[in-house]
Symmetry: C2
Subunit: 254 residues, 2 copies
């Protein structure tokens, strides 16, 4: 009878956004937290097959039992779905990530990858992020997650589609509303930083400023820039159907 | 005047598919090989920001200078585009991967992630895989890559779109032709394998059989099953536009 919600993230088990999400979702169902034991930001969609994974029990600050693994967020989802606990999740919620996941970010994001992994296993999923690297005020985002989870459980999601949510980091009374959005265009400002180690050998950081974005109306980036919560439905099928037609006119056969 | 092609992969610098690709593309332009120094299969789209990267020069078996990094395939692309060499690539080709990358694989694949990284930087890209974990006969696939590269350079690709190619591992005379395909549906057979270390503590492998797939006509999986080369155009915008309409009818505002 009880509804099982699996909560994971990519900032790791100690992240405040994970705790806020777990608390809010307890009002909707039975919540299990199974998260990486360290930060996996920008780790992409990983399946750890070339090395074994450790799994440990731990306690959240509020005393709740939780699980960690040495794997990525998507590994945590796979471990649960493959049966490491005594039940299967009815829904996977990943977050609340510190920092937005919009535009091209979703191809790098471990938060989003956990939702992808769930969808591949046929389980509905939501990824949720707060648009700030500093704010630890996850209260509104967590409540929004709980409301969205209820709606998803009532209405369902199509197979292969999940919801990616971004919440502006403004005081609650300044939130302008909720927009259903498409993915925007990120502008990355990555810079190569060259350093020398104490033995004179070069090493490199991918550094630079955090990414900005093109705030085109209707996109997730525009929604955040205008203090709206963005809800972007994403599908795993990345086929470019328009380009299929064009390619049929190329002379690909020898 | 000279055309720069960056070749990378996720099987690592020593993989035979990388060498075959590099040789074939030398007929089309100036090829630089910059690949991971170890295998990154199923590592997803990674941006290594929390640790520094090392870069080394090496020599391919044919005596060509090549570069390796400790990062993922997508990091190799980023390092080159961010300026670690004295030129920018006009095109990125990733592969030839040992094992197909079809259906949902593309969300995990390091081979595909390298192409995604290029496209995010505005550089056209192709990912290419051979449908076998054992065969080292990359000759036909490499020649097909060279022909496709020429066509891409002549005709261009839309921004945000790249080509994902899979070549059946059959003798060349048995190849039935080339199909423009959409992504199919993978069926994963992952199994959780529990072991104990010498100290009696559990650890886990994500094991099981290699994935199979639903050979629905018109998909990449169907093409390979019928000995066709599949060319699937993929776009980074994963927005589910149909679901956007549906979501607008949900009561998301409080």
């Amino acid at each position: 009878m009880s509804l099982h919600i699996l909560v994971t993230n990519d900032d790791g088990i100690d992240a405040p956004g994970l705790l806020a999400l777990q608390k809010a979702l307890q009002e909707v169902g039975e919540v299990t937290v199974f998260a990486p034991d360290h930060n996996w930001s920008a780790a992409g969609h990983t399946k750890t097959m070339h090395k074994p994974l450790r799994v440990n029990q731990t306690m959240l600050p509020d005393g709740t039992l939780a699980y960690t693994s040495t794997g990525a967020p998507s590994d945590c989802v796979a471990l649960v779905v493959l049966g490491i606990l005594d039940h299967q999740p009815d829904l996977v919620v990943s977050g609340i990530n510190q920092g937005a996941n919009v535009g091209h970010d979703i191809t790098y994001s471990g938060t989003v990858a956990a939702a992808m992994e769930a969808v591949i296993f046929g389980i509905p999923a939501i990824s949720i992020s707060l648009d700030s690297y500093e704010s630890e005020d996850f209260a509104y985002a967590a409540r929004f997650a709980a409301r969205l989870v209820k709606l998803v459980l009532e209405r369902g999601l199509p197979p292969n589609t999940f919801l990616n949510v971004n919440v502006p980091a403004v005081p609650e009374e300044e939130i302008a509303g909720v927009k259903i959005t498409r993915l925007g265009k990120r502008v990355y400002s990555d810079k190569l930083v060259e350093r020398q180690d104490p033995r004179g050998r070069n090493y490199y950081w991918i550094g630079g400023e955090p990414p900005s974005g093109v705030p085109e109306e209707g996109t997730d980036i525009w929604a955040l820039a205008n203090s709206y919560v963005s809800v972007t439905p994403l599908r795993l099928d990345m086929t470019d159907h328009q380009m299929m037609e064009e390619l049929r006119r190329w002379e690909l056969e020898t």
